[in-house]
Structure formats: structure tokens, C-alpha cells
Symmetry: C2
Subunit: 370 residues, 2 copies
């Protein structure tokens, strides 16, 4: 077993766990690096407990792994520099650079002709004031790097919110985004191989609460035109970046016109439905891509609804009995506002599938962060 | 993680491996017992290297596990006796007793009204002679217990074969079966829960070479009448045995009439296609059943062809590129005649799926036992 190919993963959370689980049947084993000794990927990967920028760890990883990949985008630059030239890294450093900085990401979308909403860079109270005057309220202010699941961002609805945000922002580089009155949030999960093969899963329609994803429905009920807009944007971005692996782009659907919101250069929560709902999962396709294998079909096998399990673990017998329910317990400790699992409902009929999701939803005892 | 439910598995081969892989997302961890320190289930289960009848191991297992199950039917009686009363065992001892003895199995089929072909018990050369006279040739002689993958059995076509078998049989309890001129071999994989819930996967059509399964096609192209015969037989047997878990029954299809050949009280090679080809895999349904959870849908999501990888590991890039191919490398060492993986082709179109299977088949370098 130890003779087979090895994939190194920075990060040992559930994304690395599901990646490692998809890698094994392909004869590929994973080594996950994580500073947390309880990192849940240990269930399926060899876990090396270490800081992400530990020189010794990274040199050892470069020696053991055939390829290194990531489960998060904010990879320390020093780590990337140390690994580069020593081992193949996918997605590449440019993709990480672009998507780990919200301003760089917006500029990248603009440069590839992908439509986005109005935004402005703000780095202090004075610049914030200008942005409020220029773009008005409501708006969202997000730190340029590091935030996820609603962390590092604020919604400004009133002048009082705007005044409070002046103190909060300090000297942090932030992005000020006009609140887009969107009909819904959609995301595309796509994958590109070393040879330039490109596949995209059908769009998912996502619901967030308190900045956290709680639900994805796939395939989303969209027109061919909408699907095409998203696929075209994804393909353009992937080709321009010479991207290898899975990535996600979140869009706002404004009356059928898609505005790109953000990109994640990795497997993504809005693609978890693909484990049971697509011919090949996002995790398997990511592993295939970065390990230089041909990609699998991204076709849906039916309808899916994915619900996140947040904070509190529900009893499995209450959920397993719901038609089409697939439980994913990440084996993480319970904590308010923490993603500890998800459930995917699948079936041939969209209406039944959504009804079953409602039943599951009623039985979840999610503890949200707020 | 260690606080969650634990499933003990006697056997640490690929069936235990795939079972453990299906258990994890349900929050269930597995302990596998195997005398082989290289047992491949170690990739997903906690492996305890021990003889199956080691008293200390079994007592420790009874303490740690909530339920004990098996990946093979020839469980030592002493082990069962030691475990019984100390921990829940599924499938139950009666199911193991019946299916680990070919004569007991045939009688059981007869007693439940499930049609079978002509057979006779033979335990020495003289009884063999009588059987040859009475039933004629060709025939198959199989030892009553312990054989699998064509081991412990002989096909008698000529009188010379019959004479040679006189020496081979010695004093072994064997079963003499008339050769049934069947059109094809079909199998059903079914599952029953503690509460008596029963689900059956669509029939698979199976091809054997040198006594080893090489291919399963599912759903098999059969009439509703044939499907009903198989489901009815499976249900009757499961209910009569108060069976809990997954089991397989192999049938000979003789002009649309099904004759039961044998039963396996466990997850089965002819059900591997369910991992990608059905809403819930046989492995997940087995785990659900024995752990007291409700069962998942056994509906197929499309067409599947499963091909075994025997003896020699093909290059993954030659296979991953075939449309709908899903690779399962068990991470076992290569050895002539050994099952070391399988590939499942899935897709919405039966013809395309079978064509793709032919391409894969042409790229396998299987080393058969003969």
C-alpha cells in the first residue's frame, strides 16, 4: 500500500477527509497536515500534526508526496515557496493568490469578462465613509483575506451600522460591496485536468443563514442559458489560470443574469451533494485531476438536497429512515456554529426529494453561531 | 470519535474494508479481526491481528463492539458460542450454520419451497459411485463447507473425471450436484433490518471463469416475473431465518425458471456494483441493518457493469479515462488468482455502459488461478 502514489493535503478537516476517502479506491493514499491533533481527516489519511509553515514538515512532505493540494485557500506564502520546485502543487500558486484575496479575485473576474457587482477597496474609516457615500447602503464589508462562513464580514444596513464599522475596520484591507438584490445564490463546481479536460457539475442553489451554508439543491432549477453563463465563466477562469483540480464559483442570480461573488480554489461545501448525486464526486474528480488521471463524468444521477449539520449531532436513526437520506458524520466534536456533518437526500423525483429534505430539516437540531 | 457506536467484523479483507468505509459517514467505526497482519481492511478499520477463535480477542471484541458481524460464513462454532450472549451478532448463528454447509443450505431451500436442482450427499468413493449412477454426468462435486472461488470443488464430465474424484473425495462430506443446463447465472442481493424491513437490489447477471466471478451486469435484463421469483425467495428465506443484514442468493436461470444455487450470509462480490450503481450500497445497507438503523433505498440509479481485477493491478490512467469507470483498488498485494480490486462502469444507457466495460476488460491484465 505504501508503494502507491501519495497525495499531500494541507489541512486535515472534513474536506481532506472526504478527499482521502475518494483517493483510496484509486490506490492513492493521502497525508494530511494540520496543527490540530484531533483533525478529523485522521480517519482516512495519515495525519501529520504540524503548523502549515513548518519547514521540516514541508520538506518531508515534498519528499513523500507525489502532489500537494489544499483544503483551504489561505496557504502561507512561505509554505508555497518552500514546496514549489520540490513537488508538484495543484491548484497552482497563482490560483491560490487570486482567490485568497477578495480584491484580487474581483479584478480577476473583471479581467476575464465575468460580470460582478459594484465593489471598492477600503482600508480605513475615511475610505469607508467615501464608499458609503458613493455606493450607499445596504452593503457588505469583508476583510480581504482569511474570512469564511460569515467570519470577518459585516452587513451594513443603517448609518449606525456604518458608524460602528468605522471602529471595526481599523487598518484592515477590506472590500466594500454594494448589497446586490439577488433572487438566489447559485454555485458551480467544476474541474480541470492537467491535459485541459474540463467538466462542470450542474449548478446548485444555495441557502445561507448567518453567513453559513445550510442547504444546497442540485441540479438547481435554472434555464439552459443560466447554466451556460456559469459554465462559460468557470471554463474561462480555469483556462486562464491553467487551473488543475476542482474549484467553486458562487454567483448571485439577478433576474437570470449571473454576477460572480467569489471563487474557492478547492472542493466546496456546495458540492457535497455530488458524493451520492453525481456519477463522480467532486472529491474523486479533484483527486483524479491533481494526480494526473482523466476526469469522471460530472452528470447528476437524479435530484439532491444537501443539508449541513451544524453544532449538534442528530440521532442517526431519526435520519436514516427518511427516504433517500445519506448521512455524513465527520466525527468532529460538537460545537455551536461548527460544521460537523451533512446529509444528502437523493432520488429520481425533485418534489419528493425536497419534501424528504424538509422532514430531515425538521429533525436537525442545528446550533448556529449567532 | 471513539465514543460512537462500534461494529466488530470477523475478517479483514476487502468486504470488511468496504463495510468500514460505508460505516464511517454514519458515525460508526469498525474493528476488524484477521490473522493476517497485512489484511487490507486496516485502511479503514482498526485491525486486530488474531486467530478468529482466540478467546481473549473475542472477549475484548464483545466488550468494545456494539454488534459483531462477518465477512465470511465459515465462522468457527466455538467463536460464535463465545460471543453469543455477550454481544449482539448479526446475521444470527442459525443463518451462518445453514449457509456454511451446502447440504444444510439445500435442505433449507427445499423446506422454504425455493426450487433447487437435483443433489445428493456423498462422503466417500462408494457413495460417489452411487450418485454417478443415479444422476449421471456431467456433475459438480463440492466439499460441504469451506470452499469459495471454485476452491474445494470439481467438475466431473467423463468417467475418468469420476474415477479421479474417488481418490480426491476421501472421507470429506461433499455434495454431488447434477450439472444444470442453465441459460445464465443471476444473483439477488437483499437486506433485512431488525424491524423486519426488507429491501432487494435489482438482479445481477454474473459471469464466472474458472470458478471465479469476473463480471456482474446490473440491473440484469430479466422479466418482472423472474425478478419477482428471486425477490420472493429471498424474502421468504430472510423471514424464516429472522435474518438481519445483507445476503446474496445465486440462481441458475433455466428458461425463466430460477433454481437457487447457493446463499451467502454477507455482503457479496455480485453486489459491488451497488456502491455507485444504487441509491444505497450493499455495504451501507448491511451496516444500517446490523446497527439497528432503517434501510436505504436499493433502487438502481442507472446501468452498471462490475469487472473484477484479478491477480494483477492495471495502470489507473488506462482505466479512469473510460466513460463511467469507477476504480476500486483494495490495496492488496498482487498474486495470481487473487481478487485485488474491481471496476464498476455506470451510466444511464445500458448499451454504452456495456461497451465501455468491454474497453476496460480489454485493458485488464487479469491473472486467473488456472
Amino acid at each position: 500500500m505504501s508503494d502507491g502514489p501519495v497525495l499531500g493535503v494541507l489541512g486535515g478537516g472534513q474536506l481532506a477527509q472526504m478527499m482521502a476517502r475518494a483517493a483510496k479506491p484509486l490506490g492513492i493514499s493521502c497525508i494530511a497536515i494540520d496543527p490540530n491533533p484531533d483533525a478529523c481527516a485522521a480517519s482516512d489519511a495519515e495525519l501529520w500534526v504540524s503548523a502549515y509553515d513548518n519547514r521540516e514538515t514541508l520538506l518531508k512532505l515534498a519528499e513523500r508526496a507525489d502532489v500537494v493540494t489544499f483544503e483551504f485557500e489561505n496557504v502561507p506564502t512561505s509554505s508555497l515557496e518552500l514546496l514549489e520546485g520540490r513537488v508538484r502543487i495543484d491548484p497552482n500558486a497563482e490560483a491560490l493568490r487570486v482567490s485568497s484575496d477578495r480584491i484580487a479575485e474581483k479584478r480577476y473576474f473583471e479581467s476575464t469578462g465575468v460580470p460582478i457587482g459594484p465593489y471598492r477597496e477600503v482600508s480605513n474609516a475615511a475610505e469607508l465613509d467615501v464608499a458609503v457615500r458613493e455606493f450607499g447602503l445596504p452593503a457588505v464589508v469583508k476583510s480581504c483575506s482569511g474570512g469564511y462562513d460569515g467570519k470577518g464580514q459585516r452587513v451594513l444596513r443603517t448609518n449606525v451600522d456604518a458608524t460602528e464599522a468605522r471602529a471595526w475596520i481599523g487598518e484592515t484591507r477590506c472590500i466594500y460591496e454594494s448589497f446586490v438584490a439577488f433572487d438566489r445564490e447559485l454555485s458551480i463546481i467544476a474541474c480541470r485536468s492537467r491535459e485541459g479536460e474540463f467538466v462542470a457539475f450542474p449548478l446548485a442553489e444555495n441557502t445561507h443563514e448567518q453567513g453559513m451554508l445550510v442547504r444546497s439543491v442540485a441540479p438547481a432549477n435554472v434555464t439552459d442559458e443560466t447554466e451556460t453563463q456559469a459554465r462559460r465563466a468557470a471554463r474561462k477562469i480555469a483556462e486562464r489560470l491553467d487551473y488543475v483540480g476542482v474549484f467553486a464559483i458562487e454567483f448571485f442570480d439577478v433576474g437570470g443574469r449571473l454576477l460572480a461573488n467569489e471563487m474557492a480554489p478547492r472542493v466546496h461545501n456546495t458540492g457535497h451533494w455530488t458524493i451520492e448525486g453525481a456519477r463522480t464526486s467532486q472529491f474523486e474528480n479533484h483527486v483524479r485531476a491533481v494526480m494526473g488521471l482523466p476526469l469522471g463524468s460530472a452528470e447528476a444521477t437524479g435530484h439532491s438536497v444537501m443539508l449541513n449539520i451544524i453544532g449538534k449531532r442528530p440521532a442517526p436513526d431519526a435520519l436514516a429512515g427518511v427516504t433517500g437520506a445519506h448521512i455524513h458524520d465527520y466525527a468532529k466534536a460538537e460545537r455551536k456554529g461548527r460544521k460537523i456533518g451533512h446529509i444528502t437526500l437523493t432520488g429520481p423525483d425533485a418534489t419528493i426529494c425536497r419534501e424528504q429534505a424538509e422532514i430531515v430539516n425538521g429533525r436537525l437540531g442545528n446550533l448556529m453561531p449567532g
